[in-house]
Symmetry: C2
Subunit: 199 residues, 2 copies
């Protein structure tokens, strides 16, 4: 009978269910939990429960937040006439790091993907449309990822928003800054040529 430490195995299985954690990493992480002090392990467990308990969707932009209304929607100094539509809260955090964008956000929580059972009604599109209808929105920046599903979702949204007669834009495509033409794929190169600008 090979040595089996059931409690450790169960912990490794929990880690292995998280994205990007393989079986070996999961076991390594489980061992590292055992090396924590009792207080540290208790702290880890509490932080998980606390995050689950406190974090919810902002009722305005549908982004994750642990406040009543997220700090972007609650910031009165931001430009309330522009809404950037993103796939998830991770994208909001990335965008906020740039400190360039001063408008509001709207998080869809996914992209339309019938193959994976994600139909438009599963996304927070209804909430977006009611924001456009209610507020004085002047521009919608559709910033879904440049994937097939992201593109399809952008097209779908732009058709839905068209009747509101507001400006609808999409983030620019092109060669990533600091990259080399040699490594750019053909579609990106095509988009870069198509979107060329005067200098």
């Amino acid at each position: 009978m090979a040595e089996q430490i059931e409690a450790l195995q169960k912990l490794a299985e929990q880690f292995a269910r998280l994205p990007g954690i393989g079986r070996k990493s999961a076991m390594r992480l489980a061992f590292s939990i055992l090396e924590l002090s009792d207080e540290e392990a208790q702290g880890f467990a509490n932080t998980i429960l606390e995050a689950k308990e406190k974090v919810h969707l902002c009722p305005v932009c549908q982004s994750l937040t642990d406040k009543e209304i997220c700090s972007v929607c609650g910031d009165l100094s931001r430009d309330r006439s522009t809404i950037m539509v993103l796939e998830d809260t991770k994208a909001v955090l990335s965008m906020e790091k740039v400190r360039e964008y001063r408008g509001l956000y709207h998080v869809l929580h996914g992209v339309i993907s019938p193959m994976n059972g994600v139909t438009p009604d599963k996304l927070r599109i209804k909430e977006l449309l009611s924001r456009i209808a209610d507020d004085e929105v002047g521009e919608i920046i559709i910033a879904t990822n440049p994937t097939v599903e992201g593109e399809a979702t952008a097209m779908y949204l732009s058709k839905l928003i068209k009747p509101f007669e507001i400006k609808i834009t999409r983030l620019a495509y092109g060669i990533p800054v600091g990259s080399d033409l040699e490594y750019a794929d053909e579609v990106t190169l095509y988009r870069a040529i198509e979107g060329r600008r005067d200098i």
Copy 2:
């Protein structure tokens, strides 16, 4: 003010303290916890606490176990005359996967490394010596890792055990199976030549 989700940030910090988890992965893992159902998150937190509570050192071999005595030490069909000395419990689990070794283990919980403050008294060496003194041990296989510290620890142990006049062995070094000579480092190649065997 950039968007900050404190509870999520704190969870990411907990993950980032685990070995091999960078800042970006930690954030990705924190987000994935939020995607769990309440029951799943509760289960994750409980598994952490349970592992910490249940897993302790086997009083015989010092390996981690959630039983009173680990399943190897408790298995009466195993060869009690051979003890393999390993650095940690991870190594025990790797060794058990081979299903070749039928003796017992002894876990040191580290290697001698004065630079990192690990002196011999910090390792489970005393416990090993008392096992050798008490039981009818015929052979000690020193299987610390083939690193500078692992080697030094092996030398130190062999000197300590010598007075007991039992067989002391070390795992074989050589080219890893399935590897290519081209990629083997010089020390490994030297050891492979030194340890060559008749065929």
